[in-house]
């Protein structure tokens, strides 16, 4: 398998070289409004994020739990359009080299036009796109457009994904694989589902892509558990959104809270010295 040239994979490899898992915080673009959202992107970078996962607000996000749905609703109520989200992405790319993965629902891509959407992603410095409601069978157009525009196409694997399907997903995906740390929708849970280490090993056996874990990563404890299970990093969404929610009406406090939370996650991301180093990581 070819080594992946994406900046995301490189960022994950850099974290690994420092003996830690990558920290990838997630926010919905435009939550709670455009200006504050821009401040939150800066804060996550300042807090030490290795990459950012950023969501386009969608009105009907069934793969997300109530906290992320509330974040999307805030952005939409603030009048945030897809154009505004792309503008935020461009501003981030102009000032920061921290790579960005974009999380979207397929209807937003479809309405903009698949070709145009991926072209705009590339122009806005987006490194990877994950479509939450696009399984491999429906993903042909997305995979082709992503390849044409040099954007990584991130796919999701779960503890329920069969062996044969896992191989197909691993072969089609690029950038990294998004590993659902548990069965369910996005949201915080205390602890990480037992068997994650086994799950990581199962995926490593068929893929050399970096593995980022999401779903239910509530804070430093889970970040540490994910690193100990052998993943290359953690994606933390609902826990960040809850800090936004807790400081609505006070943007400065919100931005500080998110910055220091990302810092805590980063501090917890070191692997234990005797931890099991993962096999076959990115060769960038």
């Amino acid at each position: 398998m070819l080594s992946d040239p994406s900046r995301i994979a490189a960022a994950i490899a850099r974290a690994k070289a420092q003996g830690r898992g990558a920290i990838v915080p997630f926010v919905v673009l435009g939550d709670p409004d455009l200006d504050t959202s821009d401040g939150l992107l800066r804060a996550m970078v300042e807090g030490g994020a290795d990459a950012l996962e950023l969501g386009l607000a969608f009105s009907d996000p069934p793969a997300d739990g109530p906290v992320i749905q509330a974040a999307a609703t805030r952005a939409l109520r603030a009048g945030v359009r897809v154009d505004d989200a792309f503008a935020l992405l461009r501003r981030h790319a102009e000032r920061s080299a921290v790579p960005v993965s974009l999380l979207v629902y397929w209807n937003l891509v479809l309405q903009r036009g698949v070709e145009r959407f991926y072209g705009e992603c590339a122009a806005a410095g987006v490194d990877a796109v994950l479509v939450a409601d696009l399984p491999l069978e429906e993903a042909t157009a997305a995979l082709e457009a992503a390849r044409r525009h040099g954007v990584a196409a991130v796919l999701l694997v779960t503890p329920l994904t069969s062996e044969s399907r896992l191989r197909a997903v691993a072969a089609a995906g690029s950038g990294y694989l998004y590993v659902a740390a548990r069965v369910g929708v996005t949201g915080e849970r205390s602890g990480v589902e037992a068997g994650l280490a086994h799950e990581i090993a199962r995926i490593r056996a068929v893929s050399t892509l970096p593995l980022l874990c999401g779903f239910g990563i509530a804070g430093p404890t889970e970040v540490r558990a994910v690193a100990e299970a052998g993943a290359d990093g953690a994606i933390v969404g609902s826990a960040v959104a809850r800090r936004i929610e807790a400081h609505l009406g006070d943007p400065a406090a919100m931005i500080n809270a998110v910055r220091s939370f990302v810092g805590e996650l980063r501090a917890a991301s070191g692997r234990p010295a005797q931890g099991t180093p993962s096999r076959g990581g990115p060769q960038c």
């Binding site: 009105s59 069934p62 897809v82 309405q111 903009r112 069978e137 329920l160 069965v183 369910g184």
Partner: protein
């Protein structure tokens, strides 16, 4: 997946990877069960002895006289539970049993699908959770109480428009969380494959009975069939037997709410664009970005911004003609059927009757001539709508004893 679940370009399964194993297992179980004489016999027995099939095809004499064509009412309102939904909840609950699932999840709009799922849950001893928009909980209280009597847990959904689309979002989430043990009993011919195909297979008994009863009573097939369309389960059920019989005209009736140009309606085919909602590519009411718009209809069961993918396809090919009826027209048809035939229809079904009436009273002359045999699928009864309809009628200045 063994099939793609496509109707032309519509359909498919746009869901999180997390749900794929569950949809694969459901598809495999459904294909196997529908081909198994034992499953079909058990379902037929339940439909006959528990649910009361076949439902009558009633020749509505006073309606016929007023509308100038022979009107036959397919009485799904007489099915146990009070609507056609029982056809597909029995079939799906039986599948759940077969698959070894231990609980049922469902969404509901008007509450009819929730009631029918709760009844099936009680019958099969499966704990049942029904997600229902908070707005619908308010306007369909009798059905909430019925679900609770049958032992189901009713979860009010407070997100988004607090109606059917949000109930589906929450039911999908709950299913994703409990996918190992729970069976999602889907309430219409929308959603990801295999639901549109499965629900159609369980509802097509309506049209098969119409064909048989029409032959028996009138010596021929009907000339036209009308059915209301929200997600479109009763309509697909009524149409399926006639899709290959081009001499039978088919009319789907969408909710026009305050009017098709008011922005407050649920007419996804008339005013929507192709898009993806709840796992299927179909016609969807949406803004230019692709954000899903809130629908409006006086009837909770039609208050949905999408429509089943097969309907989108049938509209595109022209096999089915899609009309619409406003809130006012539906209310008028609701009271009219009460007074002319002694039948209290659901507000949903009243839309189908309203569209037929509008076509017969059109200034350019009636759509159907005096010899035409026209079936209206009366998908459900209106007891659940009493309080809501009473308020809506009062707001329009209606008093008991008056026509509207």
């Amino acid at each position: 997946m063994q099939q793609h679940g496509r109707f032309g370009d519509f359909g498919g399964f746009y869901v999180s990877e997390l749900l794929i194993p569950a949809l694969e297992a459901l598809e495999a179980a459904a294909l196997e069960a529908l081909a198994d004489p034992a499953y079909r016999a058990e379902l037929a027995d339940l439909l006959t002895h528990w649910a009361g099939r076949p439902t009558p095809l009633w020749q509505a004499r006073r309606l016929s006289a007023e509308l100038g064509c022979k009107v036959l009412l397919k009485r799904e309102d007489l099915l146990h539970g009070g609507a056609h939904k029982t056809n597909h909840t029995l079939g799906q609950a039986l599948l759940a049993k077969r698959m070894g699932k231990t609980r049922l999840i469902a969404e509901t709009g008007a509450g009819q699908h929730g009631v029918a799922t709760a009844m099936a849950g009680a019958l099969f001893g499966l704990p049942t959770t029904v997600f229902m928009g908070e707005k619908d909980v308010e306007r369909q209280q009798p059905n909430v109480r019925r679900m609770q009597l049958f032992g189901a847990e009713v979860v009010p959904v407070r997100s988004g428009s607090r109606s059917l689309k949000d109930a589906i979002n929450d039911a999908l989430r709950a299913w994703t969380e409990q996918v190992r043990d729970a069976f999602y009993v889907f309430g219409t011919v929308a959603g990801p494959h295999p639901y549109p195909t499965l629900v159609r297979a369980l509802q097509k008994v309506i049209g098969e009975e119409i064909a048989e009863q029409s032959q028996e009573q009138e010596g021929r097939l009907p000339d036209a069939v009308y059915a209301c369309v929200g997600g479109g389960s009763n309509a697909i059920g009524a149409f399926a037997a006639f899709l290959e019989r081009p001499e039978v005209q088919l009319f789907g009736v969408e909710p026009a709410g305050h009017g098709l140009d008011s922005g407050a309606h649920g007419a996804a085919i008339a005013r929507g664009r192709p898009g993806v909602l709840h796992g299927a590519h179909s016609m969807v009411l949406q803004d230019p970005d692709g954000q899903i718009l809130e629908a409006h209809s006086i009837s909770a069961g039609l208050d949905y911004p999408g429509v089943g993918p097969e309907h989108a396809y049938l509209a595109l090919t022209g096999r089915v003609q899609y009309l619409s009826a406003t809130d006012d027209e539906a209310l008028a048809a609701f009271t009219w059927l009460c007074r002319r035939e002694g039948i209290l229809p659901a507000l949903e079904s009243s839309h189908a009757l309203a569209a037929l009436a509008a076509g017969q009273r059109a200034p350019g002359g009636p759509r159907h001539g005096p010899d035409a045999l026209v079936v209206v699928n009366l998908s459900g009864r209106g007891d659940k709508d009493l309080e809501h309809a009473w308020r809506e009628l009062a707001a329009r200045g209606w008093r008991p004893g008056r026509e509207i």
